[in-house]
Amino acid sequence: MEKGRRGVGQRLAGVFHRLAPPPQWVLPVTLLLGVGAGLAAMTFHVSRASSYLSDNPQTCVNCHVMAPQYATWSYSRHRETATCNDCHVPHDNKLRHYAFKASDGARHAFMFTFRLEPQVIRIHEAGQRVVQENCIRCHDATVHNTRLDEVAGDARAEHGEGLRCWACHRETPHGRVRGLASVPYEHVPLPGSVTPSWLRNLMQRNTAQPVSGR
C-alpha cells in the first residue's frame, strides 16, 4: 500500500517533470496558462456554472427558455414545498440523481448554445417517468390506497396504456394553458448583467440610464 502510493506520487511527479518547460520559459508559460485559466473562469462565471450544482429554481431560467414554466410554478402551491429538481430529477439514489441531472443539463446547454430548442417544449419520456416517481414519493400517503398500478403503473405506460398523475391533475403545478401564452408578461428572476455593479456605475456616471429589458 505504502509502496503503491509512493509509486503513484512518483509517477505524477514524472509526468509533471516531462511537461515542465525549461527554466527560462517558466514565467511566460505560467502567464499563458493564467490567460487560459482566466478565460475558463470567466466562462464559468458568466454561465453561472456553479448554480447548476444547486437546487435553486432560478438556475432553470438562466437561459430564459423556461420562463413560463418558472412563472407558473412560482404561482402554484408547489412553490412552497418543491423546487424544480424535486420533481424533475430522480431522488431514489445519489448516483442516478446526479447522472440524470448531468445528462439532462448537458442536453439543455447543448440545445441552447446551438439554438436547437423547439418552439413547443415537451417533456420527454424519461422525464415523465421521473416526475411520476416524484409525485408518488411525496404523495405516498394519499395514494397508497389507490391501486396505482391499475391506472398509472410504469409497466402499463411502457405499453402506451395507463395514465400518469397529470392526466387528471392537469393544472398541477404549471397550469392548463401551456407554453409561451400561459404567462405573457411573466416576471422571472432572469440573470442580470455580467458586468459588476461598480464598473457599471463607473461607466454610467456620464451617460443616461439604459432601458432595462425583461
Partner: protein
Amino acid sequence: MNLAELTRRKPWVAWLLFAGTAVVVFLIGMFGASIIERRGESATAGVPIRQLPEFEPRNAVWGEQFRRQFESYLMTLDTSFQSKHGGSARRDMLEQHPEKVVLWAGYAFARDYNQIRGHYYAVRDVHESLRTNVDQPATCWTCKSTDVPRLMNEYGVADFYSQTWRDLGDEVVNPIGCQDCHDPATMRLRITRPALIEAFDRMGRDINRASHQEMRSLVCAQCHVEYFFRPEDNYLVFPWDDGITAEAQEQYLDRVGHTDWVHAVSRAPMIKVQHPDWELYQTGIHAYRGVACADCHMPYRREGGVKFTNHHIQSPLANVAESCMTCHGGTEEEMVRRVNDSQDRIYELRRQAERSLAMLHIEAGAAWQAGATEAEMQPILRLIRQAQWRWDWIAASHGAAAHSPVESGRLLGNSIALAGEGRLQLARVLSRLNVQQPVPMPEWDKASLQAFIGLDMGAQRNQKQAFLADTLQRWYQSAGHVQPGPTDYVPRVRQP
C-alpha cells in the same frame, strides 16, 4: 525524456502544442462570448434604437429595429398553406361556389372573388382585382395600407373618404403593416382607423379603456368587421348602433334605408356583407373564454432568450402546435380533424343556402319577365334581402365555422328557411302568371353563370390589363417607388 528535450529535438511538437492551445483558448472564448451575447439579447430586444416618426408608413424602416417581428411579418408573403377550406393560397371562390355569381349579379363581386392572401398582398390584390374596374371611392383604401393614417392626417378624415380610389393611387403604396396597429413611440397597440372609435362611441363604449388583451383583438377589428360606405359622402361606418349581431346590424341598415345595390336578376334591394369576423367571433366559445385574435393567429414565439409575437398572421391550422395545443389536449391530428369536421358541417349548410338563394333570384327574374307586379314581388324581394344577408354573414366571414360554429349554423339555417319561404311565395306568383313548369336553370359553373347574368369577362380582363400596364405604372413612377417585391416571392424558410 521531458517536454523541453522533446521540443528541442522535434520542434514541430512545440508548434503542435501552440496550435492546440490556441484552438482551445479560442473555443473557450467563443463559448464565453456566446453566453454573454445570449444573456444580452433579451435586454436589448424591443428597445428602440431611434425614434420613429409619427407617420412612418414603410414597414421595412420599422423592421430595421424590430427584425423578429418584421421577418415573421414578411412571411405573410407565403401563399403555400392550404387547409381543407382556407389558408393563404389563392383560390377562385367563384369557381368553387359558382352560385355566388348569381347571388352577386349586378355587383362587382360577381366578376372576381378569391380566397384572401396575406397582409403583404393587400395593396397589390386591390390593383389586380377585377372589382376595381368599377370606379371606387378612396374609402376602399382605408384598410389596405399604412399610408392611410398619414393621408387621413394630411387631408382630414372626411376629405380622405370623399376622394376617389384613383385620386390616391400613387399615395397608397405600402401594404398593411406596423403603423396600422402600433404606436411608433411606445410600440403599444393603438387604433389608427376612425371608424372603429366612432362605432364604439355610438355604442357608448370608450375604446381607450380596452385592456391589452382586448386590444389584441380590437386592432384586428379596425378592418375585420362589417361596414358600409354612407351613400352621401362615402364615409366609412360600422352598423353597430343597434348591436353587433347579424339581426341588430340588419335592423340598423333597414332603419337608415341602406342598399348596396339592386340585384340584376331579381331586382331585390341587396346589402353586401363584408367580413364580420370580429362580431361573429364574439358569439363563440373562444371569445367567451377571453382568447384574443392574436392568441391563435399570432402565437408567441421564442428565439433564444427573446420572446416575441409571431407576426406571420395566418390560419392557426398552419401552426396547430403553437396555437391550439397551448390550451387543448389530445393530438394535433385530432385537433385538425375536429376543426375540419365542424367546418364540413357548416359549409354543407352554406352550400344549400347558396343553391337555394341562387334559384330564388333566377325564379324571381322569371316572375318579372312573366309580368309580376311590384306589389306582389315586394314581400318576396324583402325575403331575398334577409336570406342573403344571413348567408353572406357566414360566407363572407373568414373562418366562420371555426370562430363560432353554432351561430354560423343558426344564421345559415335561418337563411335557408327564409329562402324556402321566398320560393314558396314565388311559386304562388308564378302560378298566378300561368308559369306551370319549373323555371329553367343555367349550367352551374362560373363561366356559364357570368354569361347568364350578362358579364363580358373578356372586356373586364382587357380593361384590367390596360390598367396594370399603364395607370399602375404611372402611379408607381409618381410615387417614386419601385414595384414592390416579386408577386411569386417564396420565402426560403417555412415556419412550422
